[in-house]
């Protein structure tokens, strides 16, 4: 049964008419048109769908949309400013060439932002630990670690 749910995403309120059990990821992508978060497995195993919940990065593919209504959600689209300037983590990812195919990148960027929210100056080990939920298949890990280091200094 569909109900009206109000979500707070990227600083704005959105009203959606959906089944309350719908995964948040589906609502973000299909109802709100936010394609930053990606579907990689649907099982919270790969991290491609990560968004920030009250500043903490977590996968969005298994959490029911009704539970997300209680939180402030930020997606990849909400990171930069309104003038099109990139968030420092995005900028560092570009400069350190942390992209290959780019499919996992949403998750890695969001997890890195979440990590820096908690630990503004993480060590390499803390970055590796902080990105434990993200799988990348192209093998950009070393460059991501460098990018997070760089972003932390900005």
């Amino acid at each position: 049964m569909k109900i009206l749910i109000t979500l707070r995403v990227n600083g704005k309120e959105h009203e959606v008419n959906v089944d309350p059990q719908t995964p948040l990821l589906y609502v973000l992508r299909n109802n709100l048109g936010l394609k930053g978060p990606k579907f990689g497995c649907g099982l919270s195993q790969c991290g491609a769908c990560m968004v920030l919940f009250d500043g903490k990065a977590n996968p969005s593919c298994l959490i029911a949309v009704e539970r997300a209504a209680e939180m402030e959600i930020t997606t990849l689209e909400g990171l930069g400013d309104e003038n099109g300037n990139l968030h420092k983590v995005q900028q560092a990812f570009v400069e350190e060439q942390a992209a290959q195919c780019g499919y996992c990148l949403n998750g890695l960027v969001m997890a890195s932002v979440g990590l820096l929210n908690e630990k503004p100056n993480p060590s390499d080990k803390e970055i590796q630990a902080g990105l434990y939920r993200n799988i990348c298949r192209c093998g950009v890990h070393a460059r991501v670690i460098r990018a997070v280091k760089k972003a932390s200094a900005l």
């Binding site: 936010l34 394609k35 930053g36 978060p37 990606k38 579907f39 990689g40 497995c41 649907g42 099982l43 195993q45 790969c46 491609a48 997606t75 990849l76 689209e77 930069g80 990139l86 995005q90 990812f93 570009v94 400069e95 060439q97 942390a98 992209a99 290959q100 195919c101 780019g102 499919y103 996992c104 990148l105 949403n106 960027v109 970055i127 590796q128 630990a129 990105l131 434990y132 993200n134 799988i135 990348c136 298949r137 192209c138 093998g139 950009v140 890990h141 070393a142 460059r143 991501v144 670690i145």
Partner: protein, 746 residues
């Protein structure tokens, strides 16, 4: 010069799109009214479908149709029509063709509905009754049933023995013999396979497909469904990783196209993560190596034998036993390659197919021989270094492997190694140092490119190639900008569109050398035309000038000897009243020149591991990879390619294993929590260096492709390091702690 870019560490041109989510992948294209298809996977490995009941699924409001072998139209009759550009010999799999089941998780139905959720639910209601037949899926139990690994396939070289191995081996003073094995592996790109087929008003199709070659998908649809190529446009602007999995059209393309044509509606089909384990994979292989040498370490005899799996319907073959003749100066080499037909899906090229696995066994055996000889493993390789391929006596176009060994060893500190196993201890961990060599083909294939230069100073170049994360957009842009002397921002590269000029599937590390050269040549044609037009301007200093007399840089044509004599491109276009200059170029590899040489990339890989004495856990702590990859076009994208290859090597050595339950003949660890890949916490210190030598035999841009060489040799180097750490030789991949711990405490 401000417009010199080749060889520079430039940022990717698509970097911003990828960190903002602007890059769109296949399943993200949408139009109102798009239908969703969900594939029903079979549950037996061999047999027949007795009955398939779709009534309950069709009863659901919103379910449009369920396609099975019972209700699809008659399609192309000949097996040949189903052959794609990368097909091995045999009869390709035809989805929904008949009631026959040839492998587990075979697609048996497609449920099409208004929404994904409805299609997913309805798919659970499709009931299939099977007549089960006994299946054979275990390679080790069926070796006696093997057939010769021969056949015609692009890129495949039939194994060829030279000299007299048996005699030389019998006479050899020092010998080793060992058997190595590895399990099946699945590509698992992060983006799952998907096809979005838009049915246009005029009955033509616009297809977004996850593919490494849009023309391959277009060809397949056209042949199977009997459509003119003019009515099928295939696009694939961004690919979320592929690693070989998208070389061949996968069954979701067939399914989505079938449904779109039958329903005259637009349809999207995306596979689930478990279904990513239902098609091609790196084949499970058992290899036997015999090496014979003199007591001084001169190799006299090499035998490389491999048994690999294939399906019952196609004969997948890869270059697995062919590599030793390219590396070692030995006149007696035996190469034996056999495949066994099993009730599995046809294996599929997976990053460095054959090379990654064949070189694992060969280089692990080399380490065993070094220990038996009490010789340093690097010294053994140098002592048997060859400047020519032993199988045909031809030299290499370029080979900087000797220098790779030297520089790699220096960076790693190899000379400080105590060769004695278990001799280096760090607290509770044994430290091990191992090394290995890698080799891969440096291919160039035909490619077309087009270019259009406009009066506003912008250039668009295009070729129907792919960028699977490798950086094709970026190097096309760089090469074009440098050749014509334009800023990068004024160049737009187009790819992944079947309307663009011909390019092969992006595979075999051939794209940079092929499409890169075509782009360079087509831009030279534009330059030539610009110069000719410049010469026609009244009082022009460039009247009758040749390309050799001038320099194209900073949006100007300048006299080579006197840069103050110059003309801007916009001046030329304006004076000559030109709006556009359009050119095309067809690159054909220079076969006459290339056939005189062996064309290969090489690597020297050094690895450090730490193995926990009590728990047997293995951690790779350091890798140095020295690469012979010709001229490096972009240090950043090239570095990323090798980095990715090294990570794949670590993953192959320590983690990856598609585990089959032979009771069912099905891969059972089919998701990303049970199919392990290397993750952030596994990352060691990875040091990559390039020993460059432009290779103008392979390509006019001097590049040798490097998408695969980074992986080859890594698993062997790690495996050899584990032996050095523990004194225990584990001869099967992945090297897991249970294998390290069996028999005794390590």
């Amino acid at each position: 010069m401000a417009t010199s870019f080749i060889g520079k560490p430039k940022n990717r041109v698509d970097g911003r799109d990828k960190v903002t989510g602007a890059a769109k992948y296949t399943a993200e294209f949408h139009r109102p009214g798009l239908l969703h298809g969900v594939v029903v996977s079979g549950t037996i490995a061999k047999g027949r479908i007795k009955n398939i009941d779709t009534a309950e699924a069709l009863d659901i409001n919103g379910v449009v149709e369920v396609f099975t072998h019972n209700n699809i139209p008659s399609l192309a009759w000949l097996d040949l029509s189903y052959k794609d550009m990368d097909a091995p010999p045999g009869d390709p799999f035809r989805p929904l063709h008949s009631d026959e089941i040839q492998f587990n998780m075979q697609p048996v139905a497609l449920v099409v509905a208004d929404s994904l959720e409805l299609a997913q639910y309805a798919a659970t209601l499709v009931k299939v009754d099977y007549e089960v037949e006994e299946h054979r899926t275990k390679l080790a139990d069926n070796l006696a049933d093997s057939i010769e690994g021969k056949g015609l396939r692009a890129g495949f070289t039939p194994p060829e023995s030279i000299g007299n191995f048996k005699e030389a081996y019998a006479d050899a003073e020092v010998k080793i013999e060992a058997e190595y094995s590895h399990g099946a592996e699945h590509h698992n790109p992060m983006e799952m396979h998907a096809s979005t087929v838009f049915y246009e008003e005029d009955g033509s199709l616009t297809v977004y497909d996850k593919t490494q070659g849009v023309l391959n998908s277009q060809h397949y649809i056209s042949m199977v469904f009997g459509l003119s190529k003019k009515k099928v446009r295939v696009l694939s602007p961004f690919v979320g990783g592929a690693f070989g999995s998208a070389l061949r059209p996968q069954y979701q393309l067939f399914m989505a196209t079938l449904a779109a044509l039958q329903l005259k509606r637009s349809v999207k089909v995306e596979l689930t993560r478990p279904q990513m384990f239902s098609f091609g994979h790196r084949p499970i292989t058992i290899q036997n190596l015999k090496l014979g040498a003199t007591t001084k370490g001169k190799i006299e005899a090499i035998s490389h034998q491999a048994y690999s799996e294939t399906s019952t319907f196609e004969k997948y073959i890869e270059n697995i036993v062919n590599w030793s003749a390219k590396l070692y100066d030995c006149g007696n080499i035996e190469q034996i390659y056999k495949v066994v037909r099993l009730d599995v899906y046809t294996p599929l090229d997976m990053r460095a197919p054959g090379g990654a696995t064949g070189m694992y066994a060969l280089e692990a055996a080399m380490d065993e021989l070094a220990y038996k000889l009490k010789m340093d493993p690097l010294e053994l390789r140098l002592k048997n270094y060859t400047e020519e391929d032993m199988s045909d006596g031809k030299p290499f176009s370029t080979k900087t492997l000797r220098e790779c060994f030297k520089q790699g060893a220096e960076r790693f500190g190899w000379e400080k190694r105590n060769p004695e196993p278990r001799s280096m201890k760090d607290g509770n961990h044994f430290t091990g140092w191992g090394m290995a060599t890698g080799v891969w083909d440096a291919m160039q294939v035909p490619a077309r490119a087009k270019a259009e230069f406009s009066a506003d100073g912008t250039l668009t170049i295009g070729s129907a190639t792919a960028d699977i994360g490798t950086g094709t957009y970026t190097i096309m842009t760089q090469i074009a900008a440098e050749t014509l002397g334009l800023p990068l921002e004024k160049v737009t590269a187009e790819l992944g569109d079947s309307d663009l000029p011909f390019a092969f599937i992006e595979g075999g590390s051939s794209t940079a050398a092929s499409v890169g050269s075509a782009v360079q040549k087509v831009c030279r044609k534009i330059a030539k035309k610009l110069l000719k037009e410049a010469g026609k301007i009244k009082g022009s200093p460039f009247k009758g000038a040749d390309l050799e007399d001038v320099v194209f840089s900073d949006e100007k044509i300048s006299d080579k000897n006197d840069p103050s004599v110059n003309m801007t491109f916009s001046e030329v276009m304006k004076s000559r009243h030109l709006e556009k200059i359009r050119k095309k170029y067809m690159l054909l590899p220079n076969m006459l020149k290339q056939r005189k040489y062996n064309r290969n990339t090489h690597s020297a890989v050094f690895a450090e591991v730490k193995v926990d004495e009590d728990l047997g856990t293995i951690k790779v702590t350091r890798i140095v990879s020295a690469i012979d990859g010709g001229r490096i076009l972009n240090l950043k994208t090239a570095h990323s390619q090798i980095l990715g290859g090294v990570v794949w090597g670590i993953s192959m050595a320590l983690h990856e294993d598609s585990f089959m339950d032979h009771n069912f003949g099905r891969f059972i660890n089919h998701d990303l929590s049970k199919y392990h890949v290397a993750v952030n916490a596994d990352m060691p210190d990875i040091d990559i260096l390039f020993v460059e030598e432009p290779d103008n035999v392979v390509s006019s841009v001097g590049a040798k492709g490097i998408g695969e060489i980074g992986l080859v040799g890594v698993a062997a180097a790690i495996s050899n390091a584990v032996y050095h750490a523990t004194g225990k030789r584990i001869r099967s991949l992945p090297l897991t702690l249970d294998k390290a711990m069996t028999e005794r405490k390590i």
